[in-house]
Symmetry: C2
Subunit: 242 residues, 2 copies
């Protein structure tokens, strides 16, 4: 099995994805929100790219079944039910509900890799379970850090490196897994932040921006490791529990 | 000053380069060859993209003034005077000569960033001098790891991280330098290989390939740090000593 990392958030060639498993990672905060919301009983999450699309899509569903969530400029969108803090997505609000989610980077990433064989949602919250699921699937693996408006996001690559770290420890034969240079780069970068993930947030552009906006508690929340075994799957435009 | 790293070897938008200094890095082996050859008295080096272009260009110059160097598949090109091992570029051969160089990744990189304000040649061999020169120039800086056929090369990013490590230690005010997430990623990745650079070569795809081809001595050569103060400059299609 080959493990690769898409270091810049650009759509890979579609034909390169058809036999690969992709893990989309946007730890600050879209994929942390998704993992958390599904673990709290959300029925499904529909990631969309624009705010207009979110409002339009909500009209397709019966009243009371669907919530709008997401951010622009890290802030809750006017008219939306929820912002982009995982802490908002509690069972009482999201249990049994459909969420329509639009964020600056993360929701876009799902559409960039939509031709992959299987698309999983990764974050620190479910990193061990995500790596386990990838190993069970037994296909070539691409980690897809969503980045920050087209640029590399340190914290997403570090999380990709942690998935790889978990993944290679499952290889008892030691030799069936080939890491590309990009995968090795993410793996070694993660070693620098092992045991101190929040430091990666504090160094990163996006982390600093959230701190400046008074959202430091979200960093603490998103830096938690393995608090759930949920590994949501994106298929046909919709994210659900596997 | 902002310091950034182009993690994948793609041409940045030309207008984004006009006020930036770019350091092109292809430690295995093009930029190590260039730095070494200039330090050994080569008059100038013309990087070209194709083998045909190299042969055609050589005809423009008087006999005896010009040598052809480079590789395809890591091997010397038939009809060329020199391959792509820095060790071949000794004073007796290259002193006072013009070199026309074509390699798979490195020579291509110079053309990808040709609109930059200043384009320097970086490698481990001249890493301290390259960082010093960047600091003197006082402009926003882009490290450009040349990669490996469009993919990330671990060793080039590690070298970029070492340039950054040298560079930020020159900032006595501690605060005038802003590292992007990509720059931080390269910097932290370098910390993993600090004092053991050859390990980055042994892990990397390109390094392994050179070992398999019996060229391990080149790895040892290219892993030497600060053996020269030469920082070649690429201007108007030609590389010369600054």
């Amino acid at each position: 099995m080959e493990v690769d990392v898409q270091f810049l958030p650009m759509a890979p060639a579609h034909n390169s994805l058809s036999n690969r498993v992709v893990v989309v990672i946007d730890v600050l905060r879209a994929t942390s929100v998704i993992v958390h919301a599904i673990s709290r009983g959300a029925m499904e999450i529909i990631p969309v790219i624009t705010v207009d699309e979110a409002f339009r899509m909500a009209k397709n569903f019966p009243a009371g079944t669907t919530l709008l969530g997401g951010e622009r400029g890290s802030r809750k969108i006017p008219g939306f039910d929820l912002g982009n803090s995982p802490r908002e997505y509690v069972s009482e609000k999201v249990g049994g509900k459909r969420l329509i989610l639009t964020t600056t980077n993360g929701t876009r990433a799902f559409h960039a890799v939509s031709s992959a064989r299987e698309i999983l949602v990764g974050s620190f919250l479910n990193v061990g379970a995500a790596a386990r699921r990838c190993f069970e699937l037994g296909k070539d693996l691409l980690l897809f850090p969503s980045g920050d408006e087209g640029n590399l996001s340190l914290e997403d690559v570090v999380c990709g490196g942690m998935v790889i770290d978990c993944f290679i420890h499952k290889d008892k034969d030691k030799g069936s897994i080939h890491l590309t240079d990009a995968a090795n780069a993410a793996y070694f970068l993660y070693q620098q932040f092992k045991g101190n993930l929040i430091e990666a947030f504090r160094v990163s552009h996006h982390g600093k921006d959230l701190i400046n906006k008074g959202l430091e508690e979200d960093l603490v929340y998103c830096a938690q490791v393995d608090i759930t075994d949920v590994v949501p799957v994106f298929r046909n435009g919709v994210i659900r529990a596997a």
